[in-house]
């Protein structure tokens, strides 16, 4: 069974995550070639290129689709470049998907890559007193981990989460990522090591927070008609969600100073982060109970626990329970972050949501090696970008 809203994932490829310090275009080209080889297609077969932009690599980064297309050799393909912070990759995937579903092309390449500076992400330069991203650093010193710390502490205060729970997430994901050739950190951590690492933003320790990385990821998407001529059972993208919040958004989000006011309109029944996967579930006619495994955006260990509830794997307050009982570990009923997640990768912003889809494809094809989720049929990837960007992809086989 396939609906008329599905596209095929014919090929996937990545450049390993690390701190390589080279031009982001190199990682993009490497990933694109790997995805094309995986699909058994030539670059000249690609009719549409969707690039995920990077904001930290100058003009070539703002036109990433063309920068990488030029490096691959101009082939006359139509192009788009898009940005949605951490959700950039989902937008690029959705652009390609929409174009294929509209019948405007059969084969599209989606690619994103980044080269990141050392240390905290900082806003763009200059004095920009109307830019909330500039203001939050200037007036509050509110780095990204400050927001992660607020969510983590809230979880402790409301649900009784503990430092041990956060450390348990890191230990789990470090075990998952051990054999992943594309992961940057392949080291098994103990709970003691995590809890003994330096506090960055209380209650979060260094090992609770994801690093920033270089990396690149690409997928080749195709129409189902095109794919069926090449493979009997392709992995399919069943839904993509790129939702924005609904007013009033009453949870503090990067890079804001304040939430919306709920004086005139009540807060929506479904909070923003819950709405991200929900839109994908509704679009695909799939529910959280059908999900074999999930890749979630673990900017911090504590945030992974929030996601369990946001995507419906656990009821509010129950995330720690399904972590502790092994449900979300490899071998459990619904493993989360079998790739190792951001804890093993670090963040390469425009590549991240695309790399999530790469992992979904490898798992659904049964090619994930030692991190394979047995019998995986449906995979969910979720992510959130600052300035109100939701990102979810459901894939199945």
């Amino acid at each position: 069974m396939s609906s008329d809203k599905e596209v095929a994932v014919l090929g996937v490829g990545m450049h390993p995550w690390g701190k390589w310090g080279r031009n982001f275009v190199e990682y993009g080209v490497h990933a694109a070639r790997a995805a094309l080889a995986d699909a058994g297609l030539e670059w000249t077969d690609v009719e549409f290129v969707a690039g995920g932009d990077t904001m930290r690599n100058g003009y070539p980064g703002y036109v990433a689709g063309a920068s990488i297309a030029q490096a691959l050799g101009w082939n006359g393909a139509q192009v788009a470049s898009t940005y949605g912070a951490c959700a950039t990759g989902a937008q690029a995937i959705d652009l390609a998907r929409a174009r294929i579903l509209a019948g405007l092309c059969d084969v599209a390449l989606v690619v994103g890559a980044d080269t990141t500076p050392k240390g905290f992400f900082a806003p763009a330069g200059g004095e920009r007193k109307t830019d909330p991203d500039w203001l939050r650093f200037h007036l509050l010193g509110a780095t990204n981990p400050i927001y992660f710390g607020l969510y983590a502490r809230r979880r402790m205060e409301i649900f009784g989460a503990t430092l041990e729970d956060f450390a348990r997430v890191k230990v789990k994901n470090s075990r998952h990522g051990l054999a992943n050739p594309n992961a940057r950190y392949r080291k098994l951590y103990t709970m003691e090591e995590v809890m003994a690492s330096q506090i960055v933003s209380d209650p979060l320790r260094l090992l609770d927070i994801c690093a920033t990385s270089d990396g690149g990821a690409a997928v080749v998407l195709a129409s189902m008609a095109f794919a069926r001529k090449r493979t009997a059972r392709p992995v399919r993208v069943a839904a993509v969600s790129t939702v924005t919040p609904r007013f009033p958004n009453t949870v503090i989000e990067m890079p804001n100073f304040a939430t919306d006011s709920a004086v005139a309109v009540d807060a929506p029944d479904v909070p923003f982060r819950d709405s991200i996967a929900r839109r994908a579930y509704e679009s695909a006619g799939i529910g959280p109970e059908d999900v074999s495994f999930a890749e979630v955006y673990d900017l911090s260990t504590a945030l992974e626990l929030d996601w369990y509830e946001n995507v419906g794997l656990a009821k509010p307050g129950d995330a720690e329970k399904i972590l502790r009982d092994g449900t979300t570990s490899l071998g459990g009923r619904q493993p989360v972050n079998p790739s190792g997640g951001l804890g093993c990768f670090g963040e390469a912003i425009p590549a991240q949501a695309i790399s999530q889809l790469c992992e979904l494809a490898w798992q659904l094809r049964g090619q994930a090696g030692e991190r394979q989720v047995a019998g995986a049929k449906v995979g969910l990837a979720v992510n959130q970008g600052l300035f109100g960007h939701g990102s979810a992809v459901l894939a199945k086989i």
Partner: protein, 144 residues
Amino acid sequence: MSAQRRPAMDGWFTLDDAAPQLLGTRCTACGTYFFPREAAFCRNPRCAGSEFEDVPLSRRGRLWSFTDNRYPPPPPYVASDPFEPYAVAAVELEREKMVVLGQVVRGVGCDQLHAGMEMELALEMLYRDGDTDVVTWKWRPVHV
């Protein structure tokens, strides 16, 4: 006390040391509050309001969550040398039904904070610019 001081942002808060207030706006059509101030368009998707009144926000609220920063943030934050860690609070204002972030006053760390406690607005130096103290709003527990 140095001779001069100025706010880190003009028009964002009053310079009343005893009882400072954040300065927001309120849509005259639907009543939605905004901080930082919004005076061009209402962000309620079902409101076409374009007129706003200036309103000082509630001085007190309940602590929604809190954290701190142990490492100097990059510019444009002006970090002290040696770096002095600071806590950050998210405070829920009952009348405005919104949560507002702010640093916590010097000398109050996470170990003295818990969700739900009453907080009030204070003014404190953010950094020194030559011989001028640049001040900003901060949150302070009412009972510590």
